[in-house]
Amino acid sequence: MSVELDVFVGNTTIMDQEVYQLWLSGYTVGDAVKVRMDGGVLDGCDASAEVLRSDTMDQFRTFQMCERLLHNPAKLANQLLFQIPPDRQAMLIDRYYAFDDAFVREVLGKKLSKGTKKDLDDVSSKTGILLKSCRRQFDNFKRVFKVVEELKGPLVENIRQHLLLSDRLARDYAAIVFFANHRFETGKKKLQYLTFQDFAFCAGELISHWTVGAMDNQLEDMDVDLDKEFLQDLKELKVLITDKDLLDQHKSLVCTALRSKTKVFAEMEASFKNLSRGLINIAAKLTNTKDVRDLFIDLVEKFIEPCRSDRWVTIDVNLYLTHYINSAHILDTFKHQAVWNSLWDELFKMLTDIQHVTVCFLVKMGMVASGASAAAEGTRATAASSEEPVPVHPTQFTTSISFSFRDMLNVGCRAWPHSGSQAC
């Protein structure tokens, strides 16, 4: 005796959010039933496990049938097969495209290719996320990538419109697409302490300031690719380290400004040349795709780690970079060379971004240093502030810095998608 066939079809498609989540997480029917039982769905109902199983199977089947439509969310809205109220549709789509931070961290910056897909079982065993769910998430990335690849206009907006995703998800996907496109290296051990949200923030900054769309500020342009011209221009920055006079001048300007403002002044003074060299070299090499990929690892190795070994805290770094940029601005050479003036703005953009990024990284690092590694994303600020000499709340600090820079540089062309609070 066995139930050979068992279906339930409602005129309005019935979906249980909890079951949907289980399905998305890649549970088998049997496991899902167990989870639901433990969750107590049956409490208060006079129903057996069999009933629960039948219900779960049924819903899983419904989701499976919907999956085809979810691959093209716009279709879900005007398909006729399932009658689903609009708010439910939104829920279905959002949940379907939601992803696990742990998973995305593993594939971020990797090529969304078959090869990567084959390695998903490793990812699955590493993260504890079921393979089925990994595959769905990976395919989502790929799908979104494919959809927006050829589209013009702002990336986030494109994703939101074509996939009907919520703002937050659209922004995250933009980051994923951006990283996948440039294949930024994020998997190195040294970068492990950074979460997806950290990278997403960086991506947001880079998209806003470094891409073609950001430069021309015209909707028709692409948001995905870095502005080649800008990268080329960055080479000119080399003068800051190659020209001995300029370097010294710059150093003295920065030191004057910093003197007595920080406890680690001595170290700053000592490592100025090193750090400056590190930064400018990174910037100058960005025309090289390989070096673009290594942007984050380079930043960590060439700038953040030295700072850290000198026991700088976030605020010091911020201060340092602020003045570093400021002083460069007022360097005589630059003042008088009209050609450079416009260029300089761009350089600042890059540096500002680097500042943001590094500050962000540093804050994370501070967290690691202070041993509060278990602290969640949201408590980053607190974790950082637990480090001894931080006088100002880093969040406030970055915010103020970033704004002052924008004023200074007249970079007001584009609102920063991530406000300071999200940055740190």
């Binding site: 066995s2 068992d6 409602g10 129903a47 219900d55 006729l80 109220p85």
Partner: protein, 1113 residues
């Protein structure tokens, strides 16, 4: 006579990729009607083609218009090879043929392929220009309207109810033609779909002609069925009730609304306030049929044929009335009682009797010569057996006279009606609820079954054999009704179950006495005139027995009516109709089901038929016993909507009886059930017995509480005490073939009987009891019924959820006993119900209405159960009812007013009319708009405005649809993209269509009936596993069927389907070959409704999106 059909193909979307190389499709469309075909241009390389074709015009006879569907085929153009079909859309244009229904069909239709399912959608516009045909000899019947609803449709009034119409057409099943061997499954399926579509069209047309002949203009309660007889052919048959309907004017609507609202409070909640959804329009009164289920009585198994005429039955005596053995035996077995001449001729099924002679034959034995003759021609298969449930054989014989000798009070009326009805061959009505005053008395369920051997239909043009079969059955029903002193049968339906070459035909209905005035003209004065004769208050009148107490057709226990104390009522009442709206009911109702499986030897041909014939009476008897026991267990005394299905399989018979139990205030309180052991000496046994007894008593008490049956007035009958005094006992016998000899010893025909005694003399009985007690009660917050309305629940919310659930159960156990089988079947049904309750738990408190179970035995060891029902949630707080009713009243009034206002301004111009809307009372205000507005209470004012606006919007919408001067060009890519720019969920672009098996939508007002939906689909797969196995396959198919129904309704401009039902769901699989096939037939009425109370309803949603996508800009 001719009409001009015009079709325009606008666009397609979501087409499948047909060209692997480019991942695109070069689609074009063929539009075919009759023998004419048009083609659109090829729209190259797109999955969203914009054909925007010209108008394709077909000039055709209206006869063809009725028969033929418009066939739209979407193909992929291929330069080098044959074009590939993507899929088809069949559009039934019948709704366009009536002036009152839809005017245009316009919308997105799913493109359906029998192998792949839905593959994209196509936007089509269809219109018809019809010329009037006054030719008396015409073959068409355009304009006759069809309704599936088994009551007078809500916005109509019945002027005359003409009566029964039936028709059947037969043809060869394409699946079994020789050509099927060489064509693809797709071609074969399509041929079948097309043929059935043609046949239903033809059937409707023919029925329409009959209606016109009778002077009617509509068919209500239209029930169409398919019999897939396999090798022997395909039968499409339909029955219905011809009526002359009149559209209610605004004024009428007002009356109606007020009426309903008024009466509800006064009836002290006996009457559900559904706004105007009560099933019939001038306030329906219900017909109710009491089915009397008197204590059981004898039952004569076909084997022995011993029967006592005294004990002969009652409602369900399953007396095999006629048993026809194979002709070679030439044996007539007739019930022993000499009075009963009800022996049908053997082989009568084979003789094609001219319809005219149909009346008498049933109860008279035909001359042997006749038999002989027919034998010659039909020797091959000649087993016919028919037996009837409600009527004893004795009833039949004396039936005619019983009616005439009825109580003196009624004679006059009776005679009057009799004459009206007697002219008719079959005074049958497929309606289940009636206008008030129509139904006078109800006597009980009458039913008849016969087993036939199928024979190849040789000449499709002469379906006489099948006709004759049904004719016989109807005659039998008619004579049963007569025996009950009734001249009419209401709630009539017919069904078949086919297994191989054996077919069981069943017909059942409720014997009733009707008010003849409705059958002629001028029903309106009925209410006033009729009162005198029907002295009983409306709440109990229908329960009064129509037959004479002294001359009862069967032994029954009558007692004075508990409401009026003037007339006699039976102790139990079984009916196939809905609960009359004015019936007085105590407490709530519940679903009562009797389930039974019987093993049967596998055999062939005649032997098989005989075997089934022999089993049937036992099966029915037991079903009836179970029903009665369960009814008692619930503490109730009447069953409504009784539907007994018997399905035949190769090695078993499955019986499922469903009904809604209620406690009718007019009927005496039901007695309890007493358990008696046969071996009283055994002490432990006694204990066992008493513990069971205790359990039963407890259950009864619990159930009474659950269903809120509080009997206030304690009559002299023993109430609530399940144990009657010994001499009052009657016995309820379980019938087993083994115990059949005992039956004759029982004398059940006298004495007052309050309680049943269940004798647990064998293990079977214990099991039976067990199953009786193990029926799980519905979980808290849930109620269920299989009728339209649930007594005791009035305040529905607008949340409804229609669903279909199908289960197939495999019995792996080869050596099952009857008992084991029963248990499994019982569990299957119980689990199914439990699953439903679990699934719908979020809607609590809610009621599952119109729970319609269908059982089938598709294969050797498979049992299939399909359920369609609607879950409707209601407000828990019953105390607010009074307020609600009052509110509803005022609201309805308001709406009625608005309705009135609407009448003309709207026709002129929706725009200009709108400013008038807020105005309030009376159409005249139209001109001086500030008139009385201030005096209007604001809340209701607001309500009125918005509902008015809603209506307006709706109409405007329809008007817009009506005038299609512009071509509808769906938006170009760019624009649609920009429209969607914000995260607007274009859930918008698909209109919401509600579906319900009921004839109304709670909280809403049906403003227009757009036409009947009657669709037949076949789906087949050769990649079963890939589609998710049988469940995945069927799940997808049912979802597709829903989608297609919704799309058709939306295209007609409707937003709901009422009286939806799934008539057929035939599922066949062959897992070894990875194949499966399924056939589904659904029907319903497409309607437009507007929300009465809550504005957030669907209309804005529905109509809003249309301009962008659906309708011509």
């Amino acid at each position: 006579m001719p009409g001009k059909l015009k079709a325009k193909i606008v666009a397609g979307r979501h087409l499948p990729v047909m060209d692997r190389a480019s991942d695109l499709t070069d689609a074009f469309v063929e539009v075919k009607f009759g023998n004419t075909t048009f083609k659109t241009d090829v729209f190259p390389k797109s999955l969203n083609p914009q054909w925007n074709s010209e108008w394709f015009k077909f000039e055709v006879d209206d006869e063809d218009l009725q028969d033929e569907p418009l066939q739209i085929t979407v193909l992929d153009h291929d330069t080098y090879s044959a074009n590939d079909a993507i899929g088809k859309v069949y559009i039934d244009i019948d709704p366009l043929l009536s002036s009152e229904a839809a005017t245009v069909i316009s919308g997105w239709f799913p493109i359906y392929d029998t192998i792949h399912g839905i593959r994209g959608e196509i936007n089509v516009l269809v219109k018809v220009d019809l010329f009037n045909d006054l030719n008396r000899f015409r073959q068409s019947s355009c304009g006759v309207r069809f309704f599936c609803t088994t009551s007078i449709p809500l916005c109509y009034r019945a002027v005359v109810v003409h009566g029964f119409v039936e028709e059947l057409v037969v043809n060869e099943d394409p699946e079994y033609q020789w050509i099927d061997r060489i064509r693809t499954p797709r071609a074969s399926n399509e041929a079948r779909q097309r043929l059935i579509s043609l046949m239903s069209g033809e059937l409707q047309r023919k029925i329409g002609l009959k209606v016109l002949e009778m002077g009617g203009n509509a068919v209500v309660g239209y029930l169409q069925c398919f019999d897939l007889e396999g090798e022997s052919g395909l039968v499409v048959r339909a029955i219905g009730t011809a009526c002359t309907l009149e559209k209610l004017s605004g004024g009428g609507a007002t009356n109606n609304a007020q009426h309903t609202a008024n009466s509800s409070p006064s009836k002290d909640m006996k009457e559900p306030v559904f706004g105007d959804e009560c099933p019939s329009n001038p306030l329906s009164s219900g017909p109710s049929t009491p089915l009397r289920a008197p204590p059981f009585t004898s039952f004569s198994p076909s084997k022995s044929y011993s029967r006592q005429s005294s004990s002969s039955d009652t409602d369900i005596s399953l007396t095999p009335k006629t048993v026809l053995f194979p002709a070679r035996l030439c044996l007539y077995l007739s019930p022993s009682s000499p009075a009963l001449s009800s022996v049908a001729p053997p082989i009568s099924c084979q003789t094609s009797r001219p319809p005219g002679s149909g009346m008498a034959p049933r109860s008279t034995t035909p001359p042997p010569s006749h038999v002989a003759q027919s034998e010659v021609s039909m020797l091959r298969k000649s087993v016919s057996f028919s037996e009837d449930m409600l009527l004893a054989a004795s009833g039949m014989g004396s039936g005619g006279s019983a009616g005439k000798e009825a109580g003196p009070l009624k004679i006059l009326l009776r005679q009057q009606t009799q004459t009206a009805l007697e002219q008719r061959e079959f005074p049958f009505f497929t309606l289940t609820s009636f206008p008030q005053g129509f139904l006078l008395h109800v006597a009980g369920v009458v039913s008849a079954r016969s087993v036939k051997l199928l024979d190849r239909i040789h000449n499709p043009d002469e379906p006489e054999t099948r006709d004759a079969w049904w004719e016989e059955l109807r005659q039998e029903i008619k004579s049963h009704a007569r025996a009950l002193g009734c001249h009419a049968v209401v709630g009539y339906s017919e069904s078949t179950s086919i297994c191989e070459e054996v077919c069981i035909l069943s017909a059942s209905g409720t014997a009733a006495v009707l008010n003849c005035r409705f059958l002629q003209d001028g029903c309106l004065d009925v209410l006033s005139e009729h009162r005198c004769d029907d002295s009983a208050p409306p709440g109990c009148g229908f329960c009064h027995v129509p037959y004479d107490e002294l001359n009862m057709p069967f032994p029954a226990q009558l007692s004075p009516c508990c409401c009026c104390h003037r007339t006699k009522v039976p102790d139990v009442l079984f009916t196939t109709i809905d609960l009359p709206t004015d019936a007085q009911v105590t407490g709530k109702g519940c679903l009562i089901q009797a389930r039974l499986c019987r093993l049967k030897k596998k055999s062939q041909g005649e032997g098989n038929a005989t075997c089934i014939s022999n089993l049937l009476p036992f099966l029915e008897y037991e079903l009836h016993t179970q029903l009665l026991n369960k009814l008692k267990l619930c503490g109730m005394n009447a069953l409504f909507g009784l539907c007994i299905q018997i399905s035949v399989g190769e090695n078993m018979l499955v019986g499922l009886a469903s009904a809604t139990g209620v406690y009718l205030s007019a009927l005496p309180s039901p007695g309890g059930i007493q358990i008696a052991g046969k071996t009283p000496n055994d002490l432990t046994y006694d204990q066992h017995v008493s513990s069971i007894q205790r359990k039963i008593n407890d259950t009864i008490v619990k159930n009474r509480e659950l269903y809120e049956i509080h009997i206030t007035e304690v009559a002299e009958d023993v109430i609530g005490s399940p144990i009657p005094e010994p001499r009052q006992r009657s016995r309820l016998f379980r019938s087993h073939s083994e115990s059949s000899d005992e039956l004759s010893e029982l004398d059940l025909s006298h004495g007052k009987k309050d309680a049943f005694v269940l004798e647990i003399d064998d293990t079977d009985a214990v099991e039976d009891l067990h199953s009786l007690l193990t029926d799980a009660p519905t979980p808290p917050g849930f109620y269920s019924c299989n009728t339209e309305i649930m007594p005791g629940i009035y305040n529905w919310t607008s949340a409804i959820q229609m669903f279909t659930s199908v289960r197939v159960f495999r019995l792996n156990n080869a050596n099952l006993t009857n008992l084991g089988l029963n248990k499994i079947f019982n569990e299957l049904c119980e689990n199914l119900l439990k699953s439903l309750y679990f699934k719908l738990r979020s809607m609590v408190p809610c009621c599952l209405c119109r729970l319609n179970f269908t059982v089938a035995v598709p294969e050797d060891e498979l049992i299939q159960v399909a359920v369609t029902a609607v879950a409707m949630s209601f407000h828990k707080d019953q105390t607010q009812e009074a307020n609600k009713a009052a509110q509803a009243h005022s609201q309805m009034k308001a709406i009625a007013e608005t309705e009135e206002q609407l009448q003309f301004p709207l026709e002129l111009n929706a725009e200009s009319a709108s400013p008038l809307s807020p105005k309030g009372s009376g159409p005249q205000d139209g001109s001086n708009s500030h008139g009385r507005a201030p005096s209007v209470d604001y809340s209701s004012f607001a309500d009125r405005c918005s509902s008015w606006i809603e209506q307006l919007r709706l109409r405007a919408h329809t008007i817009r649809r009506g005038s299609i001067k512009t071509s509808s060009s769906p938006l170009p890519e760019g624009r649609s993209r920009s429209l969607r720019s914000t995260r607007s969920f274009p859930g918008s672009s698909v209109s919401v269509v509600k579906m319900t098996p009921l004839s109304f939508i709670p909280g809403a007002k049906i403003v227009k009936y757009l036409g009947i939906i009657n669709m037949f689909f076949i789906r087949e797969t050769t990649s079963l596993r890939e589609e998710g196995g049988v469940s995945g396959f069927l799940h997808a198919f049912i979802a597709e069927v829903f989608a297609m129904v919704r799309a058709h309704v939306a295209a007609l401009g409707g937003n709901a389907v009422v009286s939806y039902s799934m008539k057929e769901c035939v599922f066949m699989e062959n897992p070894n070959k990875n194949q499966a096939q399924c056939l589904i037939n659904v029907s319903g009425d497409a309607v437009i409704f507007t929300r009465e109370s809550d504005q957030e309803g669907h209309l804005p949603q529905t109509s809003h999106p249309q301009p962008t996508e659906d309708t011509p800009p």
